[in-house]
């Protein structure tokens, strides 16, 4: 094999591997990226049962209940248009998780319409706001944004 051929083979090999990686990545991203839903979107066009998604909205005041095991909590996440999604979460609530404030829940929808959260993202510190809550005013009615981002500046 001549030197020139060798370089050609190497270039082709590298290109094939990189393009393969890119194609595989794009295919996987379409399936594995976790999409963000508002409560009304989840009511209208629910994700597949078991698919990892994120749900963002406001924790309905008075809906937070601790179950008998002392660990599992249930609450309702509301959006506009009276849409509400019941959420179940087992774990230690994030530091600044309160009723009437915004939250992003990572998890999946069950067949009975309950959203099971693996992780809750609330206000992390005075600088950190889950990105989904940040730009809500652009996408949502101003009132909703106001309610959701109370104390979230």
């Amino acid at each position: 094999m001549k030197a020139k051929h060798q370089r050609l083979v190497l270039v082709v090999l590298a290109l094939v591997a990189l393009i393969g990686a890119a194609l595989l990545a794009i295919y996987a991203l379409r399936n594995q990226a976790s999409y963000f839903y508002l409560p009304e979107q989840m009511a209208e066009n629910p994700p597949e049962v078991g698919q990892a998604v994120r749900l963002g909205g406001m924790v309905a005041p008075g809906s937070l209940e601790t179950q008998a095991d002392g660990i599992t909590v249930t609450f309702t996440v509301t959006g506009r248009e009276q849409s509400a999604v019941p959420v179940r979460y087992a774990g230690i609530l994030p530091d600044l998780f309160v009723e009437g404030s915004g939250v992003v829940a990572e998890g999946r929808l069950l067949a009975d319409g309950t959203f099971v959260a693996d992780n809750l993202l609330a206000k992390h510190d005075e600088n950190y706001v889950p990105r989904e809550l940040e730009g809500m005013s652009e996408h949502q009615a101003a009132e909703m944004a106001e309610e959701t981002t109370v104390g979230l500046e």
Partner: protein
């Protein structure tokens, strides 16, 4: 006064960077013996000193908490302990950028001072490139983020520092990563220099290699420390979240690992010339991209601090300028670089090519996954990409790479057959296979941890096979470096696979005096007590823990409330044994007199960071070996020259 001195030094350094750039460029045009060319090296050296003075000034104003300086007022507090006042100097945007240019200028001074192996033209081009890169960062600092800005009215008290960042981890972690990033900028300058003068030679690879090795060691340490820091500080029990900020440090590491191996091929075999240059450009692009992602806050991260979108666009501009320029130069010049030596597929070069291609593929996978949310946001679709994407897709390329890594060091340079190493290959294969079968039957675990555990064991043995049949005393230090680094990969892999396969988690609500069990540990909550610190109050859960019915010990995880600025953090407690860690987090009360606890038993999780340290140690050994060889060569050369003059005198 001190702050003004710091600022003045920074401006002078910027002026010297211009001189360095001009000197280098004129030297390329007018020959390396002109007066201006003679100024390039001194300009770089003096610049290093000036920037060091500037950084010293910043440390000083933080140490005395000079509240008339805006940066101090915004980020420090008189009540903070001195060590956190000092680390606060770079725990913010302006300070961290000053740290970056400081390291960069010192590196520039070092190459200007000691690097004499390369042709002077290449050195001039390299220093010009280094000056050009530095100039961009000086402009960034001076025009958009002056760390020494004064307040018209001195503040009464500082605004404090994010309490999550009040940790010894902060004092060490970002500087470590910056050393790595900057080392890659030096490699980039070398690559540009070699490209301009078309001198892509083994000597060039040997000059560049210590910088890559150093950068790589710092990146490895930075990632390892950062991962451990996030692990115990965030209280989420995880060591890697595939968060954009984490990926920002992983991507340069992947590129640097590839570059390190291809530079080795270039240094010892004079092959892979163009590829090495390309990787030099890519590695630095990844550090710039990392800085951009972290600084701009364009992607949401749990680790982000000091975020500012406007400054992000400045970094993006620098990124486009340097990388676009370098790629353009590459496109123009790559064709003119002559072919390197040939080699067959079954050779060490062949194995290293596979390693390089696989690393680049992993890099592409991580890069796409990190940027994908940005891409979809342009279409107003919000997504986040996490472990369900990164783990399997990354593994598709990682495992073949690890398999080649087990075999590659056994092969000879240039041309080899697999027939010579049948026994070793059979041993590795047998270990892998028996591991797969054994773990599948015993534990019935998921595919990735299963592959990981078996591969880790096969790799741990394989990494020592290159020493077989050699006198251990006479094995060069750099070979030990390779062996230990590869062994470190196996150790870290074992830790990761074990953590994901065998971890047990327990969430419990306990009354005072209640007990629970997690894995082999029994945990009893003794009492929940309020505690107060210098700037926080906390709920502290006093509990006794016992491993497998053994001697109980007491731990006190806390849930802390800081008041300047107001914020809550969890102070988890880790109980380390040789075979794993107990991880305890204190939660709140559950409204009925019980307290929430979150406990994990993570067998062998510590191996992840031991592995990281071993990898870094391997890098250090390789660096020591290379530098020692270089010094020896210089010494011999000098002695030879002395002898020759002596002989001439005698004659």
């Amino acid at each position: 006064m001190i702050a003004e001195i710091g600022l003045a030094a920074l401006w002078l350094a910027a002026a010297l960077a211009v001189l360095q750039l001009l000197g280098g460029v004129l030297a390329l045009r007018g020959g390396t013996t002109s007066d201006i060319a003679a100024l390039t090296r001194p300009a770089a050296i003096l610049q290093g000193g000036l920037v060091a003075v500037s950084f010293g000034a910043l440390l000083y104003v933080f140490a005395i908490t000079d509240l008339s300086v805006k940066l101090v007022a915004m980020n420090s507090h008189t009540l903070k302990p001195l060590i956190f006042k000092l680390s606060g100097a770079w725990g913010n945007h302006e300070g961290s950028m000053l740290l970056w240019v400081t390291v960069m200028a010192l590196a520039g001074a070092l190459i200007a001072g000691i690097e004499r192996r390369l042709p002077e033209r290449t050195m001039q081009a390299t220093l010009a490139a280094q000056g050009f890169v530095a100039l961009g960062f000086y402009a960034f600092l001076l025009l958009s983020s002056n760390p020494f800005e004064r307040l018209a009215q001195p503040a009464v008290e500082g605004l404090g520092l994010n309490p999550l960042l009040q940790d010894i981890g902060l004092a060490l972690h970002p500087p470590t990563l910056y050393f790595g990033y900057v080392g890659l900028s030096v490699a980039f300058s070398f690559a540009v220099g070699a490209l301009v003068t078309k001198q892509v030679t083994p000597a060039f690879a040997r000059a560049m290699r210590p910088w890559i090795l150093g950068a790589w060691v710092f990146l490895t340490l930075g990632i390892t420390a950062g991962s451990y820091w996030a692990y115990y500080e965030l209280g989420w029990g995880g060591y890697w979240f595939w968060d954009p900020v984490e990926n920002a440090s992983l991507m340069p590491w992947l590129a640097a690992t590839a570059l390190l191996h291809s530079a080795s091929v270039l240094a010892s075999r004079d092959a892979l010339r163009v590829w090495t240059i390309m990787l030099g450009v890519v590695a630095f692009s990844m550090s710039m991209l990392g800085t951009f992602l972290v600084r701009s806050g364009i992607l949401t991260s749990v680790h982000a601090f000091a975020v500012d979108p406007e400054r992000g666009s400045f970094i993006l501009f620098l990124l486009a300028l340097y990388i676009g320029g370098a790629l353009l130069l590459f496109a123009l010049r790559a064709g003119a670089i002559s072919e390197g030596e040939r080699f067959s597929v079954a050779s060490r070069e062949g194995a290293l090519v596979v390693n390089n291609v696989m690393l680049s593929a992993i890099l592409a996978v991580v890069l796409l996954g990190t940027l994908y949310p940005l891409l979809t946001e342009a279409f107003d679709v919000r997504v986040s990409v996490g472990p369900p994407y990164f783990n399997p897709v990354g593994a598709v390329f990682t495992f073949p790479m690890l398999a080649v890594m087990a075999v590659g060091p056994l092969l000879r340079w240039r041309r080899d057959g697999f027939g010579r190493q049948t026994k070793e290959l059979a041993l590795i294969g047998a270990l892998l296979l028996s591991g797969l079968i054994l773990f599948a039957l015993l534990f019935g675990m998921a595919i990735l941890p299963l592959l990981g555990l078996s591969m880790a064991i096969a790799l741990a043995v394989a990494s020592f096979l290159p020493l077989k049949g050699r006198k251990l005393r006479r094995v060069p230090i750099e070979t030990w470096g390779m062996v230990i680094a590869h062994f470190g990969i196996a150790v870290a892999l074992f830790g990761m696979a074990s953590e994901s396969a065998f971890s047990t988690e327990k969430l419990a609500a306990l009354e005072e005096g209640g007990t629970t069990q997690v894995g082999p540990w029994s945990v009893q909550l003794q009492a929940v007590e309020p505690v107060a610190g210098p700037n926080w109050t906390a709920l502290s859960g006093r509990m006794t823990v016992a491993y497998d019915g053994g001697e109980p010990s007491e731990i006190t995880p806390q849930s802390r409330n800081f008041w300047a600025p107001p914020q809550q953090t969890t102070e988890s407690v880790l109980v380390t044994r040789w075979n794993g860690q107990l991880y305890a987090v204190m939660g709140g009360d559950s409204n009925d007199g019980r307290w929430q606890l979150r406990l994990w038993w993570k067998p062998f999780v510590t191996f992840i960071w031991y592995g990281g340290l071993l990898i870094a140690l391997g890098g250090v050994l390789a660096l020591v070996g290379r530098v020692r060889k270089d010094l020896k060569r210089r010494f011999v050369k000098r002695r030879g020259a002395e002898r020759r003059t002596e002989m001439e005198e005698l004659a």
